[in-house]
């Protein structure tokens, strides 16, 4: 039963889709979705290996920590995106080129 490598293949696919979204989209919210996809691919690997760690549960515990960190990152990033929109009237990261006026 080779479920572990299947988990890893799914996680690799999700990570590459996340890379593609981050590199190709022109919208800050979509780029954030790509980053979340990559974080979720990493969490999937943690959980898949943590299945075999019954005593210490390190995989699942650190998956929980990673989920909390991702949520905190999303909160801060969305606050920054709203500030950028208020200043520049756009959320295209390529168009935000002035640092301070």
């Amino acid at each position: 039963m080779s479920m572990l490598s299947d988990f890893m293949f799914i996680s690799a696919g999700l990570f590459c889709i996340g890379i593609y979204i981050v590199l190709s989209k022109r919208n800050a919210i979509q780029i954030l979705i790509g980053i979340e996809l990559m974080i979720n691919a990493a969490i999937l690997n943690l959980v898949a290996f943590g299945k075999y760690d019954d005593l210490a549960n390190s995989g699942q515990v650190f998956a929980l920590f990673a989920i909390v960190l991702a949520a905190a990152a999303v909160a801060v990033a969305l606050a920054i995106i709203l500030n950028v929109y208020r200043q520049y009237k756009t959320i295209d990261p390529a168009k935000v080129e002035r640092l301070k006026d």
Partner: protein, 181 residues
């Protein structure tokens, strides 16, 4: 091939397909709602890895918190700006523009798949040992709680402080300041 494996592959296919739709769709709302589907399928995959607590946490935090925040930010940023942003990129122009990203992601996928095949994760010594000595249990929720309060107490406290710092920072960033504009 029992029903467990069939369900597992259905979940994995759903996760990958909805992630591809997120990547392919030009409509922001559609991609956010397909991201819902990806997160639910990932929660199902966590259940197959005997991590039901992580699955429930994933649903509560991501679907309940993160996606609502994303929709909120999408509605606060103006609609017509988003429309002009989406319509300006023509169809053949975007194909040339995205070729580099597609190439990078595809090559990285080739590298990752090669590494996974070469690593042979089912033949790792400690995993075979764990499968032989103690087969994976399903009732490890209490064990997670005990470990969280004993072995991983320091990361637990550190992450609570980081979470508080992030929330205060987010509130401070999104506060309206008159003189700054």
């Amino acid at each position: 091939m029992n029903i467990n494996q069939v369900l597992f592959y259905v979940m994995g296919f759903t996760a990958l397909a909805s992630a591809l739709i997120v990547a392919a769709s030009k409509n922001l709302v559609r991609s956010v709602f397909m991201f819902f589907v990806t997160l639910f399928a990932l929660a199902g995959l966590y259940v197959f890895a005997l991590a039901d607590f992580v699955a429930v946490t994933q649903i509560v935090i991501y679907v309940g918190g993160v996606l609502v925040l994303m929709l909120f930010a999408f509605m606060l940023s103006n609609k017509e700006t988003l429309n002009s942003l989406q319509n300006k990129t023509g169809n053949k122009f975007i194909a040339i523009n995205n070729m580099a990203a597609l190439l990078a992601a595809g090559l990285f996928l080739v590298i990752l798949v090669n590494a996974i095949i070469k690593a042979r994760p089912d033949g790792i010594v400690w995993i075979q040992h764990a499968q032989r000595v103690n087969p994976p249990r399903t009732d490890n929720l209490g064990n997670i709680g005990v470990n969280l309060m004993t072995n991983y107490l320091l990361p637990f406290e550190v992450i609570s402080i980081i979470l508080m710092m992030a929330l205060i920072g987010a509130v401070h960033l999104s506060r309206k300041e008159e003189h700054k504009l």
